[in-house]
Symmetry: C2
Subunit: 207 residues, 2 copies
């Protein structure tokens, strides 16, 4: 249907945030950039066209929100509050169920992770494991190229590569812990499905 391709990352982020609560564009962007804080930042030039497109596809609707001001001055154009349509919710669920490369590569992982609260447990696990093996791949690749070219690399190059290596190793450890927790939690739910208060954490999806 309609226009060109959408970003993928941004699409998920917008739909995910709007699912949590309706918002207008300006605030949406702020939420987005605090949510993803260290990873990415989007500008209005990206966001607004995206909203326009999602609108055209019927995934969101806009509502001219007029705050009902005390003085009853008709506000020319109030903030445009966007919310998900039924189709939008459906589409979001579809996006959240996809446990493919898009979900664990660098660009997409952060966003997908941010909405794990709305993601099925099995999908979460596959994404985490997918990312882990992706990173381990990269580690192996770099480590071999590391020993091959051990000759004449100056201290700075070495320092840089080392820092990169350690960063990735650190993320792998983080993923290991998360995966461990997911497994423990899955085991919990299998063994005591009738209990409502599970000790430990509250990482389970609502619906």
């Amino acid at each position: 249907m309609g226009g060109g391709k959408r970003s993928g990352v941004l699409e998920l982020a917008v739909l995910g945030l709007l699912h949590e609560s309706p918002m207008h564009g300006y605030e949406l962007r702020k939420q987005l950039n605090t949510l993803l804080g260290m990873f990415r930042a989007f500008s209005y030039g990206t966001l607004y066209p995206c909203l326009k497109q999602l609108l055209a596809q019927g995934l969101i609707t806009e509502e001219d929100q007029e705050e009902a001001p005390p003085g009853t001055l008709q506000s020319k154009r109030a903030k445009i509050v966007y919310k998900l349509t039924a189709e939008g919710k459906e589409h979001l669920q579809r996006l959240l169920s996809e446990a493919g490369p898009a979900a664990w590569e660098d660009e997409g992982f952060g966003v997908h992770f941010a909405f794990f609260g709305q993601t099925r447990a099995d999908v979460r696990l596959r994404i985490l494991e997918g990312r882990r093996s992706r990173l381990e791949e990269r580690l192996e690749h770099v480590r071999t190229a590391f020993t091959r070219t051990r000759e004449r690399v100056d201290s700075y190059t070495l320092e840089l590569q080392n820092h990169g290596l350690e960063s990735v190793e650190r993320e792998v450890r983080w993923l290991n812990e998360l995966i461990g927790r997911e497994h423990a939690q899955a085991a919990d739910q299998r063994s005591e499905p009738q209990q409502d208060a599970v000790k430990g954490n509250d990482l389970d999806a609502p619906s």
Copy 2:
């Protein structure tokens, strides 16, 4: 002069690598991607047009290299080995002397750091400090938005933000150590300028 703008990062990376030793495009890309390993990766579709442009500006020259094969079969088209021209070297030095945002923002820092071996000590220091304050800015910004929106964030969002925060904090510590070393080394060179064997590390630029 002709042509459009070049990438900046890629330009520096190419000139820097070619300065260390002449190479043909294919190998240049490999070197590039192992050098920057964890940070970025360029594809041929990026590299070759860039080389073409650098060539057009007279910053590099190409030499049809014919290996002088034992059988003396004329090789139709040998590898094209690129090397820096005098202008190219000059330009590289200019790029390596710029201690501005381009050098400490996310995109450029890795590349600039990778060539610290060819960078003046004072420039190195300013870049390291620039990046550090950039990261600290970001930390502060995120930490405030952190406490402001402490209400209703699910465990996963929290986990993500925490991991991001710790990653950046870790990089700051790394930078602190590097800056410390740079200072120590500068002090060393001021106090004992006649000695040739400095204990510790060999981080000083050659020429």
